[in-house]
């Protein structure tokens, strides 16, 4: 069954995102430990960060970047590296 979407938004290729984000330099990645971040859609660049969603959203807004143009993520701290 087809459902009309209320607005156009780019389709994120999750397979490509995982491939690209996995190659992101660790030394750059760890700078955002404990923060909410926004990647570009293909996972090659981190565009903005914030200690929480409101701060991140404000940062994106200040950059003129719409929420539909990013992939939101979180960088775990060292204490959060294991999910068990």
């Amino acid at each position: 069954m087809n459902r009309a979407t209320p607005h156009h938004s780019p389709t994120v290729n999750a397979k490509l995102f995982n491939e690209n984000s996995g190659n992101y330099p660790y030394e750059e990645w760890i700078k955002f430990a404990g923060q909410q971040i926004a990647w570009n859609l293909d996972g090659t660049r981190i565009l903005a960060s914030g200690v929480d969603y409101p701060q991140l959203f404000n940062a994106l807004n200040a950059l003129g970047i719409d929420l539909s143009q990013v992939v939101l993520d979180y960088v775990p701290t060292k204490d959060e590296e294991s999910l068990i």
Binding site: M1, N2, R3, T5, P6, H7, S9, T11, V12, N13, A14, K15, L16, F17, N18, E19, S21, G22, Y26, W29, I30, L41, G43, Y53, P54, F57, D66, L67, S68, V70, V71, L72, D73, Y74, P76, K78, E80, E81, S82, L83
Partner: protein, 151 residues
């Protein structure tokens, strides 16, 4: 057709003993889009076969225009989070591996509690897919099943 995704390889500071000293933790994390009345938010979420439902941050609901004000907050106990309050709203979820794209409506729980990873659990996601996790190649394979009614 089957959607195929590689595991997200999360880099870690210390070698993982259980994985022979690798400096990554492979996890079934997928970029899933939540489409609401006003916009779309894509968030990396953990595909979790042990989770009963899908749960995302409440701020995401606000951002995409899902009105939770008329919903009743429910106190739910999750093993991972303990006792938390959730409100549920209907959103359209979208997953794509660049070859196949699937969109479907789901009743998603939203919580004000901080989540390290939002969860894609059984109700609203895995119930609509036959999913395998080939460990040797660290991939996820998802095929729609008879319950799936999306596009």
């Amino acid at each position: 057709m089957t959607m195929r995704f590689g595991y997200r390889r999360i880099r870690v500071a210390s070698p993982v003993t259980a994985l022979g000293g690798r400096f990554v933790r492979p996890r079934p994390i997928l970029s899933v889009s939540l489409m609401g009345a006003t916009t779309t938010v894509t968030r990396n979420a953990l595909l979790d076969s042990a989770a009963d439902e899908c749960i995302f941050p409440e701020l995401v609901a606000q951002a995409i225009g899902v009105d939770l004000s008329a919903t009743v907050a429910e106190s739910v106990t999750y093993v991972r989070f303990g006792n938390i309050n959730v409100r549920r709203g209907v959103v359209t979820l979208r997953l794509s591996d660049g070859i196949e794209t699937r969109e479907w409506q789901a009743l998603v729980a939203f919580t004000p509690v901080r989540l390290i990873y939002p969860i894609l659990g059984f109700a609203g996601c895995l119930q609509y897919f036959d999913t395998t996790f080939p460990g040797a190649i660290e991939e996820i394979e998802m095929s729609t099943n008879a319950l799936y009614s999306g596009s």
